[in-house]
Structures are given as C-alpha cells and as structure tokens.
C-alpha cells in the first residue's frame, strides 16, 4: 500500500487510543495492529519506522516497536 495511506491508517489508530484513559496507548495500538493487520502490512510499517517513520504519530512509532 502507499506509504501515505499506511501512515494515515496507523495515525488514525493511534489517535483513537491516545484519547482513551490510561497510559498504555502504545501497547493498545500494538495490540490492534497485531489483531487486525496482516503480517505483510505490519512488516511494511516496521520497515517504514526503521527508515525514519516520517509523518507517523509518536504513539504509532512506539507501538511498532512492540509488534
């Protein structure tokens, strides 16, 4: 998928969990990604973060380290 679309989708998820009570948003984002993103999508996201993760929400970046 296009990097822009992937970043948009990952940030949407991060935005939701950021608003939830508690300080475990990255873990919950990671959980969501594990549950719903197919491995090749998660690989693409992981590679993208390795390459700098431009445009990704900080919570999403934190989450990617956990998947």
């Amino acid at each position: 998928m296009s990097p822009e679309k992937m970043v948009h989708m990952a940030n949407q998820i991060a935005t939701f969990f950021k608003t939830q009570p508690g300080d475990n948003a990255p873990e919950r984002v990671a959980g969501h990604l594990r549950d719903f993103w197919e491995p090749r999508m998660r690989d693409q996201l992981r590679r993208y973060v390795d390459e700098g993760g431009t445009g990704l929400d900080q919570i999403a970046i934190e989450a990617v380290k956990r998947i």
Partner: protein, 986 residues
C-alpha cells in the same frame, strides 16, 4: 421436493389480541379467546367460518359490508361479528334463517354491480366474492339491470367528476378512445408494472385503503365519490398508481378480496397450485414469503403472515422484483479465458474448475501461500458463506477471507463487540411495538428497510416519538400522519460530536440511570467517561458550529431520549461508513447504557443491516481475523476446534481485508481471488484503485448470476444460482436464522454451496487432500453448530419446527434469544468507551467545496445487479445528484441538467435534481447504476478500526457538463469488450 407444511394459514378475519381469556359459545362450541377479540375471530378459532367481505386479519375491522352478521342470545338485531367484541358467557349463532336472509340480500347488492365474467376472470378460484356468493347460497340476483360500473360493450367511456379526469388521463395513456356509454365506467389502470386496478370489479370494501394506511403507512389510497358512485382512487384526480404516492408494496393487492387489485403475473400465469415458505434475498429485514408456484414457475410472492420479522408485510423488492432470476442476462454456463482482453469461452464445469484450481495452486506455488484469497457474499446463505471461508482457511491455508460487510457494518462488529461483548443488534423487530422514543441515526428505513419503517410508522401513529439524526430530510422526518419530534440535520462526518453532545446533556443534566450503570456496567470506566463527556467542549452550544445542529434542538432530543420511556436506537450505514464509524457505534452503545435502555422489549441498539445476510456472513467467520462465532484466529483453543473438525492447521495470523487485498495486489503480493456474489468494482470505494488491484491479479474467479462489473477483470466465471434455487439459511438484522427453501431446480445446474465444494475438491484432488462430501446444506449447518457455541442448538429440524430462531441458540437458550443482554452483558460488565471527535481528513475546501454523501432508494438495491433487471426501473431509471437550490443556482445548474461531479479521487457525470432535502453544502446520490460510477468519486479513507470505507463524506465540486467523462466512455467500451462470449464448440 418436499414442501414445508404450512402452519395455520387461514384468514381469521380480524387481528389477534392479547390479554385475559374470555369464554363464550359459538354455534354450541365453547371457545376461549383474549378479551377484545372479535366474535368473527373467536368463531374462526372454534373452526367456524363466518362469511365476510370487508374484514381480513391484517387490518382492523371496519364493519361496512354486513355480510358477517350473527345473532347473539339476549341481544337485539344482527350485529356484525367482525366489529363486535366477545364477552364472557356470550352465546352466538352464526347461522339462522334470519342471518342467511340478510347475507343473501347483501350479496345480491354486491353482485348486481359486479361483472359476471367469473369463468374468464383471472381471479377465478381465488376470489372471496365468488366464495362468499357460494357460502351464502346466492342463486339468483334480483337487481340485474340496475346501475353499475362496468362497460358491457368493452369500450372505455368517460366517467364523471374527479373520476372523469382520471379516466381521461388513463384513456389518453391507454389509447382507448372513450364513448359516452356507462358514465360510471372507469378504465383499468395498468400503470404499475406489477399489478392492475380494475374499478369495474371493485366492491368498495376499503380493505385496500386500510391496508395502505395501517399496514404500509403510506396513505396513498382514498375512496373517491359517495354512495354508489364511490371508487378507490390512488392519489389526486389525474394520478394513476404509478404517479401517485404509492410505493408498490402490494399490501392493498394482498388485501383485495376480488380481482380489482391483482398481480399481473396471475393474469399471465394462472392461479398458483402450491406454495413454499422462503426468505427474501434483498435487505436485512429478512421478510418471509410464500413463494406461490404453478409447477416449477413462480407465480407470485406473498408475504407470509407467520414470518416473524415481517408479520405478513413486504416491500416492492421482495414481493415483486424477482424477475432478475430468469433475466436474459443471467449466465448459465461456466466460462474461462487466459487474459481479460480475450472474449469468454464457454466450457464444461469440469474444465472451468480444473482451470481455476490449476491457476490458484500455481499462484500459491509461485507467490506463496498467502497470495490468494476469497470474498464471501452477504447475499448468499450462511452455509455457502461458511464454505467459502473454509475454502480459504482449510484449502488455501490462510486467513485471506473478507466479506462485503467490510464496506458496511464492520464497525458494528467492532464497536458493539467492544462495548457489549457481542457483534449484533440487541432486539427483535417486534420490540418496536414497545418503543416510546426511537432515534434513527444514519439510516433511511423507508427506502433501505421498508418493512421495518412500516412497523415503526405504525408505532409512531400510536403516539411514540421519533428523533432523526441525518444530514438529509429523509421521509421519516415528515410524511403522511407522522412527524419526527426532532430532526438534527448534522454535517456529514460529525456523528461522533453529535452523539457525544447527546451524552453530555444526559450526564450534566443528571438524566442517566445510575442504578442501571452501577449494576450492569464497569463503574470506573463510567466515571472516566462521565468526566470526559461533561467537559464543556462537548456541550451542544460548543459543538453547534461544527455539527450544524442547533443546540436547543439537540438538548431537547437528548432529554426526550433519556426521559421519554422505552428508547431505542436504530442506525445504518450513515453511522458506520465514516473514518470514525466504529467510534460512533461505541457512542451509541454508551447512550443506551447511560439511560438503561438495554435488555428489555422496546429499547436497545439496533443496526439495520443492508443486505439480507450481512449478519450471517459476519457470524460465519468471513472476516480475516476471526473464525465463525467472532473468535479471533490468534486463540489456540478456538483454532483447535476447527483444526480437529477440518484436519488441517489454521494460520494464527489475521489475513487481508478487501482494501488490503487490493493494495497487496497493486504491490504484487496478492495474485488470485475467488469472489462469490459480490461486485467490488462497483460497490467498493475509489474505483480506479479497485480496477488497478483487480487488473494486477493473475486469476480472478467471479461466481455470480451476471457478468457484473468485477467480472470485466475476471478469468473464470462460475454461474451462480438464485435464492429460489437452493436450500439454506439467511440471518437477518435481529439475529434471526430464517430458512431459504429451494422452490425450483437451479437453472445453472448447481446451488452455490455445491459450486464452492466443487472448486475446493478440484484443488484438494490436486493437493492429495481429503475431499468435501456435503450432500445437503443441513450438513453444513450441523458442522457450524458443532464448532460454534452461539449456533450449538441450531439444526434444520429445529428451524422446521419453530419457523426461525434467533442466535444465541444453545443449551442455555434452546429456543433462541429474542433479546440480548437481559440479565447481564455478554462480556460481563458493559464498557463505557471515551469517544473523542476527530474531524475526518476529508474536508471541503476551495477546490472541492461540497460534501457528497451516498445512499439508496426503495426500488433499487445496492449495485442494482438484481433490481435493474426488473421492472423496478419504472421508479428509478438512473442515479441523480440531489443538490440544494442555493448551490445549484451558484453553479448555474437547472433541474435535470448533466453535471460533472469531481473529487480528489476522480470524476463522473450524472443528472442533477434540485431539492432542499439536502442542506446547502451537501450533495447526495445513489450508487445503483454502473454507468454513474459513483465510486469513482469516493476516496480510500476509511474507519480507523476496520477499514470500512468513508462513503458518507467526500469533498466534491459540481459543475455543469455536457456528457459522460472520458473514464465513463472508456470504461463502457472496455466493459463491452470484456463481456464478449464465444459459445462452447459443439
């Protein structure tokens, strides 16, 4: 084939009542019935038929014909049994010399104004007037040469007054010249494509008028004229059925005791000789029908009065729009081709299946196990859907399975699953009869779920209140005899802000049900939530500018919902198809828990499902992350159940969702697709992207009735069977598992479940695996029950016995579960979830200043593959763009003009219609016609949790245009090329 034996299907004369039993005697037989029951119904319960004409059990008694008179000991005169309620100890005589005389006299009057052409009448043998003449022993008629309404000469003639105007217009259309014969004659109205109205046969019993009012709620009919001159009339003088308000539901036709209102199919094919109970294959209401047959020809569909979702009613689609099943476009032979530039080649089933199996296995060898997948259909049966996901999991050995619910109700699955622990509506449709306040949000039930709309309207006429939250002024806001208490016309995309504001009012004004929350919900989560919604930034005053909803109106609506008695929320795709679709679903669940509106009749959270089997296809494990029964593939104990049943290991990782499949196809890692009964090229957003994804695949197998748009990119076409041609079950929006019964042999040779099995076996043979051996869909249901706890008690024997059951159906609920979460939530404590509004990134701006939202209309269904191939096109021949007068004027657009509709994704053209149903700044269209290509415009933005596309908000510009875009033209040319077929060599 064995027909289902009908339970008591007699016309009991008047509707059933409930309440304390009253005992009386009818013709010496003692009978006990609920108080308020009519004598006529009590007699019917005792097995005694009282002659009747103006009464039928779908509508309240009217007491006009006086054919049903009886004598009651101790009372004077001969009261009408249909309007006289029973009383304890009453002694009734339905037959005596006196009542026989009265009845004969009544019949004589009726017959004297009725053509005596019974032998050639199309209703011969199916006419209550004829039956009643027999029942009362009518042998001669004394009024023969009196005034009447028929034209013995066979020539049309002009009538008087209003009738004259209508007759004139009908005459003009029918081309029959009138003479000045019988001034009371009114010509036949043939304008409706499915039924005729022949005034000369009308006995003015008003059953049609009352059915239109009480059952359908449209109020399209009136009795025009007085006394002997009176006749039924659709709409105003000059209207015929087609141009009137009539929505062609057919309730009047069903109620009519004579041939006055009659299906054209009866005139053409004769009266039926047998019937089979089955379920509508259109929307998620799940109406049950008697398919009335003549041999193996379907003569008519009659809504079944014991159908628990529809209670004897239907809409135009289910009752009349079945002609697509035998349309000439239907493909009956399998076809293959090596490349999509080639014409199709008709081949045998064996050739097509081995071609497909070779291709799919080859792709897996070349590109890996996860390079192919399936799309299951929400139009097919549970059993068929179960097999398609099993094909992915047990034969492809991956989880690449998804369903069109992805693009409609996937946020419902996620949102309700999070809040309540189960992905389904909480009520049955009967629940609406106990509702005091209904909220409709993002749904248009009069068009999308018409039979539910009729049931809701009936409740509103009894005094229940309605709140509509929708950008458009849908018909439920105001129509005959109903008016919403509040319409909140929000800007598209601001659902979460509005729902959170409603909660703000409820919490800050102390209107919540604290006892319910303490007992049933997680109290800590509630406190977080209460703190969140109480923030002044969520007040209606603070959100008004953003949402466009006047604060006072929103406050009043919140108060009504919280304090107006039993309150229920009904919602549709206007909730789910947004970037925050799942969040709105959670917000709706929050509202119901806040006010304790869950767990009893009249309340609840009710997703209105689009397609007939959306609920079922989700239940059956169509989603790539969960196995049947909504259990995640990561759970080893769940995988173990299916591994034991199927004898293969199951992949613990989630598979690709439809948009992910298309992305992966463009990236070159997804190469083969088996798509059953869906048309993703037309229905999914961002058509250019879908087309690119399909074009990048090396094997697309389309399994459908027609060469749909997706088939333009397919290499294998497997002809499908219609719902009339197979056995199975559909699960409707109330979790009701309804039987679908085969009424005729499949024209294409196989039921769809058999075709999936043939494909699986073609692959399994090459792989050396054990083949599937189902010989009837009931065996598939047995496997579902054995593996899926919420279906554990379901089998075909139970469905035969009960007619239908609502899951969960298992040891704890052996007869199913009409209401969910009665004593506790499925997940234990209900969860309040914080719903922060996040504006969509799809915003209007200088280039695209308007917001487009999409929907559907009554007579057409989704991509229109079926309904466009029926006479329903009489009502909707093309998709139109609704635009507000101000926006139209600014752009120089007039009614009916061609306009160009452009977004950042693409552009298309269609014709405009100017209306203030939409607010300024909002435009609206339907997506029923492939030439419009409304999805060329929609973008790839989607719900954050589920990837459900954001169909309901697209920033667009509208400008005058003089014809189709280049894309529309080149697409039409390509589609034509792609549909060429070379017949099989002899």
């Amino acid at each position: 084939m064995k027909d289902f034996i009908l339970p008591d299907d007699r016309d009991m004369g008047t509707p059933a009542r409930s309440g304390a039993l009253v005992t009386l005697t009818v013709d010496g037989i003692e009978v006990s019935v609920p108080e308020g029951t009519s004598i006529m119904r009590a007699a019917a319960e005792a097995g005694i038929k009282v002659p009747k004409l103006c009464a039928t059990d779908s509508i309240e008694a009217f007491g006009s014909c006086r054919l049903c008179v009886v004598q009651i000991e101790g009372r004077r005169g001969t009261p009408a049994s249909c309007t006289t309620p029973v009383a304890a100890g009453m002694v009734v005589h339905t037959q005596s010399d006196h009542v026989r005389k009265v009845r004969k006299g009544v019949m004589e009057l009726y017959i004297s104004d009725h053509p005596l052409d019974c032998l050639t009448c199309s209703a011969n043998g199916d006419c209550e007037l004829q039956d009643m003449a027999g029942a009362v022993g009518l042998r001669d008629v004394r009024y023969q040469s009196g005034r009447n309404h028929y034209d013995a000469s066979g020539h049309g003639v002009l009538a008087q007054g209003d009738a004259r105007a209508r007759a004139a217009s009908t005459t003009a259309r029918s081309g029959v010249a009138g003479d000045l014969g019988n001034p009371l004659f009114i010509p036949k109205d043939n304008s409706n494509p499915y039924f005729t109205y022949d005034p000369s046969k009308c006995i003015v019993c008003s059953r049609c008028v009352r059915a239109c009012e009480e059952v359908q709620g449209t109020f399209a009919l009136t009795i025009e004229g007085r006394g002997f001159d009176s006749r039924v009339s659709a709409g105003m003088a000059g209207d015929d059925f087609l141009t009137s308000d009539c929505v062609s539901c057919g309730a009047c036709v069903q109620a009519c005791p004579t041939a006055t209102l009659q299906e054209k199919s009866i005139a053409e094919l004769g009266t039926p000789t047998r019937s089979v109970i089955t379920t509508c294959a259109y929307c998620g209401v799940g109406c049950q029908f008697k398919a009335e047959m003549n041999g193996d020809r379907l003569v008519r569909m009659v809504p079944w009065k014991h159908g628990k979702a529809n209670r004897g009613h239907s809409c135009v689609k289910g009752r009349f729009a079945y002609g697509y099943a035998t349309h000439k476009d239907r493909i009956l032979n399998p076809m293959i081709r090596d490349s999509i530039d080639e014409p199709w080649r008709e081949v045998s089933w064996d050739q097509a299946l081995s071609f497909a199996a070779d291709k799919m296995l080859g792709l897996q060898q070349k590109y890996g196990q996860k390079s192919i997948g399936v799309i299951t259909s929400s139009r097919c049966t549970n059993e068929e859907t179960y097999l398609v996901q099993k094909l992915a999991r047990a034969v492809f050995m991956n989880n690449n399975t998804d369903t069109c619910a992805r693009v409609c109700h996937s946020p419902t699955g996620y949102g309700l699953g999070q809040a309540f622990g189960t992905s389904a509506g909480t009520q049955d449709f009967d629940s609406v009869e106990h509702t005091d306040v209904a909220i409709i949000i993002g749904a248009n039930p009069t068009d999308g779920h018409p039979v539910f709309a009729s049931r809701l309207k009936k409740r509103l006429r009894q005094g229940a209140k309605l709140i509509v939250i929708d950008p458009r002024r849908i018909d439920m806001v105001k129509s005959a005899h109903i008016e919403a208490a509040h319409h909140l016309p929000l800007k598209p995309g601001t659902n979460v802000a509005v729902v959170t504001s409603l909660a703000h009012v409820i919490v800050t004004e102390g209107l919540m049900d604290e006892a319910f929350i303490r007992e049933r919900c997680d109290w800590d989560e509630f406190q977080h939530y209460a703190e969140f919604v109480s923030d002044p930034r969520h007040s209606p005053e603070a959100t008004e500018l953003m949402t466009g909803v006047p604060a006072a109106e929103l406050r009043a609506a919140a108060r009504l919902y919280a304090t107006g008695g039993n309150a229920a929320i009904y919602y549709g795709l206007g909730v789910t198809e947004h970037s925050q679709g799942s969040t709105t679903v959670m917000g709706i669940a929050n509202l119901s828990m806040l006010t304790g509106n869950i767990g009893r009749p009249g309340v609840g959270v009710n997703p209105l499902r689009g397609q007939n089997n959306v609920q079922g296809s989700c239940d059956m494990g169509s989603f790539p992350h969960e196995l049947p029964g909504y259990r995640h593939v990561k759970l080893p104990e769940v995988r173990a159940v299916f591994e034991a049943a199927w004898g293969v290991p199951i992949d613990p990782e989630p598979g690709l969702r439809i948009p992910n499949m298309l992305d992966a196809a463009v990236d070159g890692t997804f190469k083969g697709l088996y798509c059953q009964g869906e048309d993703i090229l037309q229905s999914d957003p961002d058509t250019h992207h879908v087309a690119a994804g399909l074009a990048a695949m090396e094997c697309v197998i389309v399994h459908d009735l027609f060469l749909n748009e997706t088939a333009n990119y397919a290499h294998v076409f497997l002809p499908g069977s219609s719902f009339l041609e197979k056995d199975g079950t559909f699960t409707n929006a109330e979790r009701r598992i309804n039987r679908v019964r085969k009424v005729m042999a499949p024209l294409n040779g196989y039921g769809d479940w058999e075709i999936t099995q043939l494909l699986a076996n073609a692959m399994l043979k090459e792989m050396g695996g054990a083949t599937w051996t189902y010989t009837h869909p009931s065996q598939i249901m047995d496997e579902i029950a054995a593996t899926t706890p919420s279906f554990a008690g379901v089998d075909y024997a139970l469905l035969e016995e009960k007619g239908s059951v609502q899951w969960p159906c298992n040891e704890d609920h052996p007869e199913g579960t009409p209401l969910m979460h009665v004593d506790g939530f499925v997940r234990g404590k209900g969860r309040f979830i914080v719903t922060e509004y996040v504006a969509t990134d799809e915003r209007s701006g200088p280039r695209f200043p308007l917001l487009l939202t999409t929907g559907r209309i009554l007579s057409q269904y989704n991509v229109g593959a079926q309904t466009r191939r029926t006479e329903n096109t009489a009502w909707h021949a093309e998709d139109l763009l609704e635009i507000h007068p101000h926006d139209a004027e600014n752009r120089g657009v007039n009614e009916g003009d061609w306009v160009k509709l452009a977004s950042r994704a693409g552009e298309t053209t269609l014709r405009a219609t100017i209306t203030d149903r939409v607010s300024p700044g909002v435009v609206y269209t339907t997506f029923h016609h492939p030439d419009t290509q409304a999805n060329v415009i929609t973008t790839d933005f989607s719900d954050w949790a589920t990837n459900c596309p954001e169909y309901k908000v697209t920033a667009v510009q509208v400008s005058p245009s003089n014809g189709p875009t280049d894309w529309q033209e080149s697409y039409a040319a390509q589609a034509e090329q792609s549909r060429r077929i070379l017949p099989a060599a002899e």
